[in-house]
Every structure is written in structure tokens, then in C-alpha cells.
């Protein structure tokens, strides 16, 4: 499950602090800065369609990060991540509609509320593990979906809930370009938080629980505490992503947070790389862009004989869905360590260029 990290030769660490540094080398530090810089000027370069895709990658990436912490780093399989995402969206809309929270406060508050819900769900989940936990979260998914459709005081029932656009000091985040910066802000905060978490005692405890929970327990790690904590933190990010999602669409309907979305999140972290922080973002980008690529492919094939034989244009939703399933299978068979691992390989290849052994 874990990604094997081989340090290239000549890469020495002479102090503990350099071993635990946030960026493993100068290259990754400058690459990250360059990436953030590119994202900052992105609204100037691209049209609003691409920006909206980037926004989707942003909030899905935040939620996938949470799931990766739970599944990839702690080894607790959850097939119900979408309900926490949905809970965050509804909670933020509820807080701002019923209690008149300003939206910029209601988004983090909703995330914290979701974290508490996750902690409560985590208490029974700490009792079971592996396959049984996957089945339990599957049941929780259906029960929570049912709860969303019943609790009309909270979700608006079948009508859904409307979410106000964000406003700070009279400045509205109403266009895609403005909202993009908001999502980018929260994305950077979330990734910094999780990167830092994984460098602390608690982060190492998560990894120990994943790698061998019996040994971890013998070394004095409180299994129950860390399993519950992992559920809570994972829900925090799911809630944050969900709240951003709700205020982006300005409308939250109960239909969206179904098992397909949960599987979508799982697919992101499988494709990005289990237990890899940057992998979560890569996976989110891959899964958001995949339907677009399938769209473009079908358009490319339109009016050819293949199109006429299979009537591709009318089948686009099915093609998109089938491609998600196919990509999961192919990645698991051919690239089980995900995109992050491949990225590491490419970087190592450049670094070691003439003598790659």
C-alpha cells in the first residue's frame, strides 16, 4: 500500500531537521513555488471554462486529500466519503441561511462541524477494520443519503438548499475568476496542514497504524485514538471541500452525494497514489479531466464510421462512467503506486541523468 521511497544516491541528510524538512530538496521547493505562481496568474491566461475545471480540481483535491489521509496514511478504508463532503456543503448553507453566518465564517465552521460528525462516526469505525470497515462505511453511505432526503430542516429535502455567494467587506466572490483564488487559498492551507501533520508525532503514528497495527499498539500507540482522529481530520477536509463546492454552485441538492461520488474520491487517491499528499491533487486533476478528455475524444470521432456504428454522441454519459471504471482497473493492474510514484521516478531520472543506477 505504501509507496516505496528510494532516495537517489548522493542525497545525504546530515541533520534531523533537514531530514524532516517540508521540501525534500531545493528542486521540489522551486517547483512548488513555480506551480503556485502559475496558478496565481492562471485567470489571466485561461478562459473561464478552464478556470471552472481548476476550481473543481481544487475542492475535489481538498476532499481527496482528506480521504488519502484516512485510507492511504491510516489504512482505514472508507466507501462513504461523499456523505461528509455533502454534509459540509449542507452545513455551510444551513449556517449561512438559518443563522446568518457570513459565508467566509460559515465555510470553516462547516468544516469543523463535519469534523465532529466524522469523530462521532469514527467511534464505531474504530472497532472494525479493513474489509469490515469498508462494508460498514458502505452502509453508512446509504443511511446518510437517506438522512439527507429526510432532514428537510437541514438540507431542504428534495428542493435542496441554496448557498449564498461569498462576500467579504462588500466584495463579492461571484465570478469564476474570483472564486478561483478563494479555492486556491484553502487548497494551499489544506496541503500545508496535512504536509505538516505528516511530519509530526501524530502523522508518524498514522503511518505506524497503517503499516502494522499490532506492532504500533505494542509500541504504545493508542489505536482507537488515532483511528478516530484520522476519521475526524479526513472529515474536516471533506467538509471544507464540500462547503466550497456548495458556495461555488450556489445550490446544494441531495442527489449528488451518492455512492458514485464516494467511488470517485476513492478513484482519485488510487490514481494519484495512496499515502501521497501531492498524489491526491494529481488524482483529483486526473479524475476531473478524464470526462473532458472522453468528451473531446467523442467529438473527434463524430461523423466517422465508429461514431455511427456505436452512436457515441448519445452515449457520452455512459462512456464517461465506463472510463472511470476502466481507469481504476488499469491503474490497479499496471500502476498500483499511482501517478505520484511515476512523478518521483521521472524526477529521479532527471536528477541522476547520465548514470541512472
Amino acid at each position: 500500500m505504501s509507496i516505496k521511497k528510494f532516495r537517489p544516491c548522493g542525497d545525504f541528510r546530515t541533520s534531523y531537521s533537514s531530514d524532516m524538512s517540508l521540501f525534500q530538496d531545493k528542486g521540489s521547493f522551486y517547483l512548488t513555488l513555480f506551480g503556485i505562481f502559475l496558478l496565481l496568474i492562471a485567470p489571466l491566461l485561461f478562459d473561464s471554462y478552464i478556470i471552472s475545471l481548476l476550481i473543481y480540481i481544487g475542492f475535489y483535491g481538498i476532499a481527496a486529500l482528506g480521504l488519502n489521509l484516512l485510507v492511504g496514511c491510516t489504512g482505514q478504508i472508507s466507501v462513504g466519503h461523499a456523505v461528509f463532503f455533502g454534509f459540509g456543503a449542507f452545513a455551510s448553507a444551513w449556517l449561512s441561511n438559518k443563522f446568518f453566518f457570513p459565508v467566509w465564517i460559515s465555510i470553516p465552521t462547516a468544516a469543523i462541524m463535519t469534523a465532529f460528525v466524522g469523530l462521532i462516526f469514527g467511534i464505531p469505525a474504530a472497532r472494525v477494520k479493513g474489509l469490515y470497515l469498508a462494508i460498514a462505511t458502505l452502509a453508512a453511505q446509504f443511511i446518510m443519503e437517506d438522512f439527507f432526503s429526510r432532514a428537510s430542516w437541514f438540507t431542504g429535502g428534495v428542493d435542496g438548499a441554496s448557498a449564498e455567494p461569498l462576500k467579504i467587506f462588500g466584495f463579492y466572490f461571484d465570478t469564476d475568476e474570483k472564486y478561483f483564488y478563494l479555492v486556491l487559498f484553502w487548497l494551499i492551507i489544506s496541503f500545508l496542514m496535512v504536509s505538516n501533520l505528516m511530519r509530526t508525532r501524530d502523522g508518524r503514528a498514522f503511518l505506524a497504524v497503517r503499516d502494522h497495527y499490532l506492532s504500533a499498539e505494542m509500541m504504545g500507540i493508542n489505536l482507537t485514538k488515532y483511528r478516530i482522529l484520522s476519521f475526524g481530520i479526513s472529515s474536516l477536509f471533506a467538509g471544507l471541500g464540500g462547503a466550497l463546492y456548495g458556495h461555488y454552485l450556489n445550490f446544494v441538492s441531495i442527489e449528488e452525494f451518492n455512492i458514485q461520488l464516494s467511488i470517485f474520491f476513492l478513484a482519485m487517491i488510487i490514481i494519484g497514489g495512496l499515502g501521497s499528499i501531492r498524489g491526491s491533487l494529481m488524482g483529483a486533476a486526473f479524475m476531473v479531466l478524464l470526462p473532458e478528455v472522453m468528451d473531446a475524444l467523442t467529438r473527434l470521432l463524430s461523423d466517422t464510421s465508429i461514431d455511427q456504428a456505436l452512436s457515441l454522441s448519445s452515449a457520452i454519459p455512459f462512456i464517461k462512467e465506463a472510463s472511470i471504471g476502466l481507469v481504476i482497473i488499469l491503474f490497479l493492474i499496471f500502476e498500483p503506486n499511482g501517478l505520484a510514484y511515476r512523478w518521483g521516478q521521472i524526477r529521479a531520472w532527471f536528477k541522476l541523468y547520465p548514470f541512472s543506477y
Binding site: 458502505l138 452502509a139 446509504f142 443511511i143 467511488i263 472511470i324 490497479l332
Partner: protein, 297 residues
Amino acid sequence: MALDFLIQLLVNGFIIGLLYGVVAMAFVLIYKSSLVVNFAQGEFLLIGAWACWWLLAKFSLPFYLAFIFTLVFMTIFGILIQLIILRPLIGEPIISIIMVTIGLSIFFQALMNWMFGVFVEPFPKIFSTESVNLLGLEVQTVYIMSGLISLLIMISFAIFFKKSRLGLAMRATAFDQQAAQSLGVSVKQVFSAAWGISAIVSAVAGIVFGIVNGISSGIAFMGIKVFPAVILGGLDSVLGAILGGLVIGLLEHFAHYLDVQYLNVGNMIRIAPFYVLLIILMIKPYGFFGTKDIERV
């Protein structure tokens, strides 16, 4: 009136429960022999049902021929899935196995929707009489047929495992893979056989379900409903799967009765099994007949 309704529902629940039991048995067969949790069991039902429907509707074959062709196709299909998809993943962590079957499930569901559309297609009529009077209860003929077929599958399963050579090999593999291998059982063949048999049984269940309710992607939900049944009975117990299926079938219809008569909350028939599943996992995670995992360091 209320009592009649209750009895009617319980009879239906019993028959649907038998069908759940059959699907759960197919699920347990795969889990027991190859330790793969098959989230795509529902799609096996769906593919079997659509294949049979396609042969009937497109080629107007007689039902028994279409049925036999479907079973042959499903055997090959099941074995191929095992060979191509699951064999490379032997020894991988459980999340990979779960995700690959989830991937299969999404892929085939989308493929079936693409090929056959999203609308419910009824099976051609097989029985001339709609329903028979059984001890004062109107029971649909298809329900009786479904119950009989389920019982037939269960009995043939029991005979297969007790008497046949392959059945014995499968039991041996399930008991101890290494010991079976060193005694000359081909574990590869056993894995393939388990998937083949499971696909056949699922296809029969799918066809029966299709005859009762018409075919749509809703059949695939049976693959999810099977989880409460197998957890209740114990993940690796065939007998437990049948009992679990029966209990879940009866229970969801009883929940439906309570819902209609007293609670009026709606949707209980769909949700009640999952509450049961959660409660079972909390108090007795290995079910009635499942073996407890004992971990040694």
C-alpha cells in the same frame, strides 16, 4: 386486513430472501475460495439477465436454449474476469482488491446501460397464469418459480460440495490453501472454478429477478443488498449466507409493513437492511457462522 397484508409481505419477503440467499451464496463462494470481496456481484446478475433477454428478444430462441447459452457465456465470462483482472492482483492489499471490483462494477454497469438503455425491459411471458391461490393467498407464479429455482440451486450446491471431486478440492482450498496445494489441488483451477460457478449462479438469480420485476440497472443493487446478508451469516459460511439472505428478505419486508402501517417514513424497505448491517458489525462482526480472525504476530 392488516394481518393479510403482513402475511402477503412475509411470503414475498421469504421468496426474495431465498433469492438474496442464492446471490449471497455466490458471493461467499468467491470470498471463501479466493478471499476477494466481489463488489461486482450485482453486475454479474445484470449481465446474465441482459444476455438472456438479448438472446430471447433478438434471435427469438426458445427460453431453455437462451438459458443454456447464457449459462455457458457467463461461465466463460466469470473465468475470464478471474484470469485477466484478479489474477495479477493476488497478494495485493485489500484496498486494491476492493477497488478493482468496484471498478469492474462501474464499468459493466455503464456498459450495460450503454448497450441496452436505461429503461426497464420486461421479459417475454413464460407462464400463462398470473398467480395461483396458495392456502388463501394470491402468490404470483413467477414468485413460486423463483423460490423453487432458488431451492434447486441450494440443493445442487450442497450435492456439488459433498460429492464431486472439484467441490472437495474447493473445500480443501478454502480450508487451507497451502495444504491443498501440496496435496496436488490446483489452486489456480479452483479460483477459476469459483468465479465460473459464482457467475452461473448469479446469472440464474439475475434471470429469475428479471422475470419477476423486469430488467433494469436496478438489478445491480442486489449486489449491494447482499452485504447485509453475508455479514449477518458470516462472510465465509455458505449456510450462513442462505440464512442471512432469508433473514434480510423477511426483515426488510417486515420493516416495510411497519413503515406502511405505523411509521409512514417511507423508503424503509431499502434502508432497513443497512441499519441491521451496522448493528451486526458493532456487536458480532463475524456474523452467526463466520470464522473469527485470530491474529498472531
